[in-house]
Symmetry: C2
Subunit: 349 residues, 2 copies
Amino acid sequence: MTAAERDAPGTSAAAVEAVVAAGGSRLAELLARTEERLVALAAGHGPTLAQHATSTISAGGKRLRPLLVFLAAGEVAGPAAEARLVRAAVAVELIHSASLVHDDVLDAAAVRRGRPTVVAAAGRTAATATGDLLFSRAFAELAAGGELEDVRALSAAASALARGELIQRADAWDAAIPLERYLHRCELKTGSLFEAACRLGALASGSGVSPSGDRTRPPAVDVATALGLFGRRIGLAFQLLDDVLDVSGPAERTGKARGTDLLDGTVTLPLILARERDPQLARLDVRALRTAREAEEVCDRIAATGALDRAKQQALAVVEDARTGLPQLPPEQQQALELVAEGVVERYA
Amino acid sequence: MTAAERDAPGTSAAAVEAVVAAGGSRLAELLARTEERLVALAAGHGPTLAQHATSTISAGGKRLRPLLVFLAAGEVAGPAAEARLVRAAVAVELIHSASLVHDDVLDAAAVRRGRPTVVAAAGRTAATATGDLLFSRAFAELAAGGELEDVRALSAAASALARGELIQRADAWDAAIPLERYLHRCELKTGSLFEAACRLGALASGSGVSPSGDRTRPPAVDVATALGLFGRRIGLAFQLLDDVLDVSGPAERTGKARGTDLLDGTVTLPLILARERDPQLARLDVRALRTAREAEEVCDRIAATGALDRAKQQALAVVEDARTGLPQLPPEQQQALELVAEGVVERYA
């Protein structure tokens, strides 16, 4: 796994807080309803889940994906559309949480968000089942609403996420993986759920417009696609910058030693760019890296090629694409989405 | 895990074949379409899944759950209802396969259905992601259709399955678990997906009847509930008998040594019944069992109390409840469902 999924505390929390503050009471209320529903779900499916859920969904996190659902929706009309939005926000966060729980099983991780992980507290079997349960509750949440299109968007994202993991595993230890394949994996692993969040928000927003309704707005499905692409790009940039942070550190910020991805066999953008300029890195046998010290030495070598700056520039270009690709939106909504885009960049700064 | 999920080859294959033979060309065609779709799904989501899927969905199995979907549907009218049925059959089998793949990760199992497991072939990360992918494809399959009710039925079953696993883990090593709690766990773990299979079949069948349609038939939702209960009971009996087989053996039939569940810490019906009659078993420390030999000795001790026969009788009573609880159905459909019920019992004979 890479650091994006780890959601190291403090990375873009400040940016999220700024967006929420600017969004006013309505946004705050929607986020509060999402939180309430997550807590109710954690408590409502047996004492075993209730116990494990404290180390996952109840433990917080930045709720970046729910935030994107609400920001992509903009102003929605009426309680039905708001209920649909909250369901979507909850569902997206549940898929994210499920993937974190399964990642922690695979990494045998001890701590997340400052609390013991499910696998540390209850073992692999319980943690795998907890992930499966959170996963299925996400679909139950959307199915309880009335929108098949929402279920389609979520199942596409959940599939993409799993495919991204499969590709990452298939490409592990291969220092020669093509750039395109790496980018595709990042889109699947991280971009797809950000895309679904934006798409679900836009769909719920458009759901208030009847086919014979306001003709001055573009059709809801086009806005949903455009906002989905914004989410996908933001997610991609989020992952790229996270992969840069794994090499650049510092450990005090990221909460883990530099080069952790390399020790896991995960080859990311910095090495992919650096290998073009450093023949020794081009010949690197990732499997031969055994110690944190050796991994840090490779990180230093990558940094010496200037690859970290180039990787960061590539991520910034993706964020810029996301911004310029935004459809015409009300100014407040546009500003809020741009603030999130900035927040993704600020994680690195 | 318990043996039901392992689907040891040959257990009720003969009964399934008999039902298929009696069902004629239409049933055979629906099963063939299910198989085709499963193969297409395995091939259609990247080379990594295609490779792993050969050891899961493409490797066969009895397709008992798809069969129940079709039998619960009876005669359906038109291609739309048949397409819905095939989607339901595929979705139910995908959830089942996903749970098997995750079980194999947890058990570090080497072989299933005569082929290397995904975890044996590709490691824990790839196998966990493969399970997640199959899981999300199940929901995508139903969402591609037009029926939210189907998504609801499947997400309820998938949640129940995961909850059953959580309860099993929470109760592990506890020789004193109450009978009721054990039965509840079996319903969640195994009964719920059988229930969903029957319910989905019945819903698709009823979907051909418009609200102003044939009033001589009972409302589709009631038939769906009654057939769902049939499935739940059959699934429960299936699990109970599997748990008996784990204690009774013989190993040549079950494909594993007697007492495997006990060594995993899984306390099942035979011990629950036996502990009432044998004070030494009532005081059994399951954790103290270390070797296959010790587990077999406990199996012998359980058998000596007559608990295996009593457990079998309890399972047969559940099957009888399933039969008598069937709603009024066309004679051919009734016979086919009863044949499946018999098949579940014959697994033990």
